[in-house]
């Protein structure tokens, strides 16, 4: 299953997209709302990262978002891959999220959080213009993870 979106324009277009995205994510994770919210948060932060650092708040530039779902819950191999393409200047080298962060640190906190939530996350340059933000999340929960969710952990 593949979902493609392109967003550009004002903040309200991004807000509208994110609402639609959350509904799609809830369906993809069989209404485990917490997981849907976590993935939604990561996509929001990735878009914010592009707008702040790559596009320097030029909201007219397009951002392409592709969700690719493979496997199934029944077979316990359901995986969501997210690719977010921007058209800004290519970064010098692949960006990997920090694994530690100071408790008062503001910068890179969004990247750090994505790294903690997602199973895979990096940003890589494509040619001279543009970058791909790649994220991957296994959607099939193990029994202990389901218990944690039920207990609000």
């Amino acid at each position: 299953m593949i979902f493609n979106f392109t967003i550009s324009g004002k903040e309200n277009r991004i807000v509208e997209f994110e609402k639609e995205l959350l509904e799609i994510l809830k369906r993809l994770v069989d209404n485990h709302d917490m997981i849907a919210h976590e993935i939604h948060f990561c996509i929001h932060e990735a878009i914010l990262n592009i707008i702040q650092h790559t596009y320097k708040w030029n909201l007219n530039l397009p951002i392409e978002i592709k969700l690719n779902v493979t496997g199934s819950m029944e077979k316990q191999n359901k995986v969501l891959e997210i690719r977010i393409k921007d058209n800004g200047p290519a970064i010098d080298k692949e960006l990997i999220p920090p694994t530690k962060i100071d408790k008062f640190q503001m910068r890179k906190r969004g990247l750090y959080m994505i790294g903690k939530i997602m199973d895979e996350f990096h940003v890589e340059p494509i040619a001279k213009n543009g970058n791909i933000t790649y994220m991957k999340k296994h959607l099939t929960m193990k029994t202990d993870e389901m218990l944690d969710l039920a207990n609000g952990k």
Binding site: E11, I14, V15, E18, D33, M34, H37, E38, F41, H44, E45, L48, I101, K103, F104, M106, R109, G110, Y112, M113, K116, I117, G152
Partner: protein, 125 residues
């Protein structure tokens, strides 16, 4: 995002936020500036009521960190009311839960600041 700020006796601010606490919200910039003005005025006792917040992003978390930093410099904590699981999860994943004080009500916040600072209510609020 709707924001209501009440200043108590010039030294304590109660901030109630409803809706999405996100940088993409139209009100966010103005709110960030207001907060900066209050901290410049020397206010460091903050009770932030997020019980009606449905979503918070890293920019919203950034404002909470700013308030928490100011409070910790004065040997106290920024107080946060929040019972939304997905918002609590963001606090936990960002490690910000370690630098704030979670409380159940505004009244708990008053009691906390009376205990940890020289704040005393002149009248029952």
């Amino acid at each position: 995002m709707k924001v209501k700020i009440s200043i108590i006796e010039d030294v304590l601010a109660i901030i109630k936020i409803d809706g999405e606490f996100s940088i993409f919200d139209d009100e966010f910039d103005l709110f960030a500036k207001e907060i900066a003005a209050y901290t410049k005025m020397g206010i460091y006792r903050f009770i932030i009521d997020l019980s009606n917040v449905t979503y918070v992003d890293s920019s919203g978390i950034g404002i909470i960190i700013r308030l928490a930093t100011g409070a910790m410099k004065k040997d106290t904590r920024a107080c946060v009311i929040c019972d939304q699981p997905n918002v609590l999860k963001v606090f936990q994943v960002s490690n910000v839960d370690k630098i704030i004080k979670f409380i159940d009500s505004v009244e708990d916040g008053f009691k906390f600041f009376e205990k940890t600072t020289d704040f005393h209510r002149k009248v029952d609020l």
